[in-house]
Each structure stands twice: as C-alpha cells, then as structure tokens.
C-alpha cells in the first residue's frame, strides 16, 4: 500500500517538475534576446566562396555573411556583433529550430515545404539571390545535355533540394541515372574530380564557385540545362513576427538603397542632404529622419543608415563578392534591379 502511494507521489512530483521546466518560455521576440546577449548568432555555410567563406585572416566573407552583418547593424547598430556558426545543409534547420542560432543566412532555397507550418515551418526573408540548379561536366566528355547523361553517375550533395530536382528532371525524361550522394559539397567536388561521376550537380552559383577552385577551371563547363528555380533567402525560425519583419525590411532596405543610389560612400552626405531639405520626404522617411518606420519594426528609426554604413546597398554587396572583379564572378542576370531587367525589387518604405 505504501509502495503504491509513494509511486503516485513520485509520479506527480516528476510531472510537476517537468511542467515547470517549460514555463519559462515566453513569447518575447528573439530580437530582445539578441540585444540582451549583445551578439547575433548567424548560421552560415563557411564553405562557399562568394557566399560565405573563411578568409586568410580568419574572418568569414561573402554575400551571406554581409547579410548577417546588415541584420546585426539593424538590430544592434554594430555589424561586428555577429557570431558565425558554420553549418552543413542537414544541420541547418535543426540549429534554427532549437534556437542555437538566431537566423540562417546560408544559401537556402525558399520553397513551400520549408515555409509551411506542416513542413520545416520557418519564415523566409525576401530572396537575395536567384539561382538555379545546374550540372558541371568535363568539356572533353562529349556531354552536352541531360540526355547524354543517361545511365551515368552523378555526384550530388545530401540534405538539399538538389537530389529531388535531379530526380524530377531525369524521371520526367524517362532517363535512368545513378546518384552518388555525399554529405558535403567538398566531397561532391572530390568525387567528381576523381572521376567517380561524369557530372556533379548543385546550384549554378555553387558550381561556379567550386570551379573557381579547380586546378584547370577552363576544362569544365556548366550545362545550359537549368533543372530548377532556386531562390536563395535568409530565414528565421517561424512564429517570430518581429524578427521576420525586421529581416524582411533590412533586405528591402538594401534593395531600395540601390534603387535610390545610396551607397556606403555617400550615405552620410545623403543623410546631411535629407536633414537640410525638408522637401525630400521619401528620402527622409527612408533614412528615418521623419516618420516612425524603423520604430514600427521595433528597430531604431534610422536602422537603414546603420545597415548601409555597414555593408553598402544590395548592388555593392553583390559586386564585392560576386562581381566581375571578385574571385567568383557570376553575371548578375536575374539578380539585377527590376529597372535593369532583373527581378530584384522592393515594396515602398511607407
């Protein structure tokens, strides 16, 4: 009898304690946590030149890294308060969901399954790079199109949409193929260069950056077949509107700055100009001199100024890492502003 009673007591203690354990979790935004911590934890790849890559001096650089800096500048006013977490493709969503990182800026394709609450349930910021999946082959292999790859081995990375796109493309053509799946892009490259596969597949930007590291890049070519749309965007864990709104408008701020011709070099002059001339209402609103756009987002009213000072506008970021003079030149193509024939555009700051 006593035994049973103590068991009941025991169970209720256990249940009570476990119930308490989760009460601490409130609904406060992660922005407050980031500010309190004084540091933004940003998930990156760390292995893709042009997007996020470790430099000689031990710092990360690239388009994805500059976005982390822009978010830190918007939230804390300081682009250097970022802790970068290099993550593999399969790790990234778990790291985000468990709260190990605040946001992810890691070549991640925006698609329905990832966005939906029944899927990964994350929230994407606007697309920062329009990419597409392609295939890299040796020029002397005689392979010119997908049909030439019938029954061949293709090296592919794991934990990405690439595997599924590859299958969709080959299945719809009724072509058999052999995927050799590795965990990491470096291994995909090694498998391809060692001759295990006749082709390797990944996003075309990644193929370009991988090829830039080859001993003889000119012996390899990217096929003209594009297997998929790969809009890459930064993202946060779902259900935190303040954080996702802030991220969205930081990206739009970068794009709007390029549209308005505001650069890292002239942002202070523009600020001066806007202060002196009350008729420049659009510029004044954008830079936070009038109105309360920044405050509405829960950021400082002049967050755009901090962001542009830190990283420059979208075009400057692109040119720094992927422009013609960079180590990984990728033609801007779809990633030009809408007025220049691309698809990059932003809703109004009103």
């Amino acid at each position: 009898m006593t035994k049973r009673r103590s068991l009941v007591a025991l169970l209720s203690i256990g249940l009570a304690m476990s119930a308490c354990a989760s009460l601490g979790e409130g609904s406060a935004s992660r922005i407050d946590l980031i500010k309190k911590r004084g540091e933004l934890r940003c998930g990156v790849s760390g292995k893709i030149p042009g997007f996020s890559f470790l430099q000689r001096d031990g710092r990360y650089a690239g388009l994805d890294v500059d976005l982390c800096k822009a978010f830190a500048a918007a939230i804390m006013g300081d682009p250097n308060k970022v802790q970068y977490r290099p993550l593999t493709a399969p790790e990234r969503f778990t790291a985000l969901k468990t709260g190990e990182i605040d946001l992810l800026s890691r070549n991640t394709t925006f698609n329905l399954s990832r966005d939906a609450s029944g899927g990964n349930g994350v929230t994407f910021a606007p697309v920062v790079f329009h990419d597409g999946q392609g295939l890299l082959v040796r020029k002397n292999s005689g392979i010119r199109s997908l049909a030439d790859l019938k029954g061949q081995s293709i090296c592919v990375g794991s934990g990405t949409t690439t595997e599924q796109n590859l299958n969709d493309a080959f299945q719809s053509l009724g072509l058999p193929y052999k995927p050799i799946k590795y965990q990491d892009l470096n291994q995909v490259v090694a498998g391809y260069l060692q001759g295990r596969c006749q082709a390797m597949t990944s996003d075309r930007s990644q193929l370009a950056s991988a090829r830039s590291g080859f001993e003889r890049p000119e012996e390899h070519e990217i096929l003209t077949d594009v297997l998929s749309k790969e809009p890459l965007a930064p993202l946060s864990s779902g259900g935190d509107q303040r954080l996702s709104d802030a991220m969205r408008w930081v990206v739009y701020g970068l794009i709007t700055a390029e549209e308005m011709g505001i650069t890292q070099a002239n942002v202070d002059d523009k600020l001066q100009e806007a202060r002196e001339n009350p008729d420049l209402t659009k510029l004044r609103r954008f830079l936070g001199i009038e109105g309360d756009l920044g405050t509405k987002l829960g950021l400082s009213n002049d967050f755009v100024v901090n962001v542009i000072r830190a990283t420059g506008n979208y075009g400057e970021i692109y040119n720094r890492h992927l422009g013609p003079d960079s180590a990984v030149p990728i033609p801007r193509g779809l990633n030009q502003l809408h007025r220049d024939g691309g698809v990059i555009t932003a809703p109004p700051f009103q």
């Binding site: 025991l10 256990g14 304690m17 609450s117 029944g118 794991s158």
Partner: protein, 299 residues
C-alpha cells in the same frame, strides 16, 4: 537499517530518472505543439522521389519512402555483415600474430594495430575511398587475369561486381575494427596461463594447432564479450558511410528528413532500426557464447 537506506536511495534514483524522462517528453510535446507539428508517419507512404545508387531489392524513385528506408537498411546490413566477417578474420589473425614466435609477424601485427588505432575512422574511410579506390584508373586493372578487376567505377571479384563506395566502407570498417579485435584477441590469449603454451610446445604440437586446440578454447570466454561490443561498434560506425557516398540507412534517412521536414520521426525510425540491428548482432553473439563457451564455465 541498511536495507532501509538502500531503499531510499533506490527511490531517489527513480525520482531523478522519472523527472528527467518527464522533462524530455514534456519538452518534446510542448515544442511540437508550439511549432504546430504533431508526430505523424504518413510521409512514409509517400513516393520517395529520389534514386538510390545501389539496392539489393528492386527499387524505383516512385516507390514509397518506407521501402526506400528498408532497402537502405538492407544496404547497411549487407556492409555490416561482410565487414564483421573480414574484421574477425583480420583481427584474429593479427591478434594471434602478436603472440607468435615469429618476430617479423609479431612486429607487422604490432605495426598494424598501432597505426590503425591512432587514426580516426572517418579519416581512414576518406582515405580508402578518395585516395585508394577513386585513385584507381577508370580503365579496369586486372592483376590476376579476369578474376579481379579494379577500377574507380567499380570492383569485380569473380564476376561479382561491387561499387567503389561499398568496397571503401567494407575495407575501412574491416581494417579499423580488425585492429580493435586484434587487441581483444591478444588480451584473451594473455589471459591463458603461460604454462599452457609451454605445455603444448613441449609436447611437440605445432603453433597453429596448439593455438587452435589448446589456447583459443581457453581464451574464448574472455574474448567473446569484448568481441560482441566491437561488432556493435562496427554496426554503429557504419553510419560514417555517408561521407563516402554509400547509400546506407543513415544517408537515406538524412535525405528523407530534409525532404519531409520530419526530423523527430526520422530519427525515431533511425534509432529503432539500429536498435533492431544491434539486437540482432547481440542475439547472435549470445547464441555463440552459449555454444562455444564450455558448459563447466557457464555454471
């Protein structure tokens, strides 16, 4: 009094364990509700949507995810079973060689064990795959006629074709675990009193026969338990196959988890599959233990 105290300790332990389990389950439930995900296994019956580079049963990308997981589980099982055989042969050979009267054999076995045990398994797998196997020319080498054909597109032994990925995992796991087994065997042999060796040698019985009939039967009770834990390690280590492109259970689970976003369910299935695999190995070893170990020592 003493009994009373141990009872209280037991009670305390139960409280601690129950609390921990409670926290974990509650945490999982709360977070699943918070993120709007309930546990669901419906995705298992959806088409997998990816091809597998090797499969023992017929498989198409249009087959269900559950079937893809089963096929990959068989891939795991295949490489684990083969590796266990090779690792055992290698390990017993090297372990016995370390106690051989032949100094060259002793040194070689010592070198093998020493070298292999110092290098992480992942590095060894990458070496076997990227350097040893993919380093082969693409036109097959046939060192002994048509019996063995080696190329970086596949290995063919007596007409049996193996992929380079399978071969690399097989060799990597066998060599690595073989070194560990060699130490287990050496330890077992050392547990047999020195006099037993001297006894059979003084009777003029050869080394090999003496080892087989005199020393090993006495060493086996000491070897078998440690051996089964090496087998279990081998099974668990086989998940490193993902690094070298082999379509094992872990690699395929990894793909399904990313495609469906069902991480918790995916890992649960992974855990249960490995539990089943290891229980299989454990059961086999216990059976062996019962057969091999002398009834007198079983009591």
């Amino acid at each position: 009094m003493k009994r009373q105290r141990s009872r209280w300790l037991e009670l305390l332990l139960v409280v601690v364990v129950l609390t921990l389990v409670g926290i974990l389950v509650n945490n999982l439930a709360v977070n699943l509700i918070r993120t709007g995900l309930g546990l669901s296994f419906e995705w298992l019956w959806q088409p997998a949507g990816f091809a597998l580079s090797e499969h023992t049963l017929p498989y198409q990308p249009g087959d269900s995810t559950a079937w893809a997981l089963l096929v990959s589980w068989l891939n795991s099982l295949r490489v684990i079973a083969c590796s266990i055989v090779f690792a055992t042969v290698l390990g017993v050979g090297a372990g016995a060689a370390r106690r051989s009267i032949n100094p060259l054999l002793r040194q070689l076995a010592g070198l093998y064990v020493g070298l292999i045990r110092q290098i992480p398994l992942l590095l060894q797998l990458l070496f076997w795959y990227f350097v040893a196997f993919l380093g082969l020319p693409s036109e097959p080498l046939a060192p002994i006629g048509a019996l063995i054909r080696l190329s970086n597109q596949g290995v063919s032994i007596l007409g049996l074709t193996l992929s380079v990925e399978f071969s690399a995992v097989l060799v990597g796991l066998s060599v690595f675990t073989g070194a560990a087994i060699a130490e287990v065997v050496r330890g077992g042999l050392d547990s047999v009193p020195r006099g037993q060796w001297e006894a059979f040698r003084s009777l003029g019985i050869g080394e090999a026969l003496g080892l087989r009939r005199v020393v090993l039967p006495q060493a086996l009770p000491a070897i078998l338990p440690a051996l089964s834990s090496q087998y279990l390690n081998l099974a668990k280590n086989s998940t490193l196959a993902i690094a070298v492109g082999y379509a094992d259970l872990y690699a395929v689970s990894d793909t399904t988890i990313t495609q469906t976003g069902r991480a918790i369910e995916g890992f649960l299935i992974l855990l249960l599959s490995f539990l089943a695999l290891n229980l299989l190995i454990n059961g086999g070893m216990q059976l062996l233990n019962r057969i091999v170990v002398h009834p007198a020592q079983r009591t």
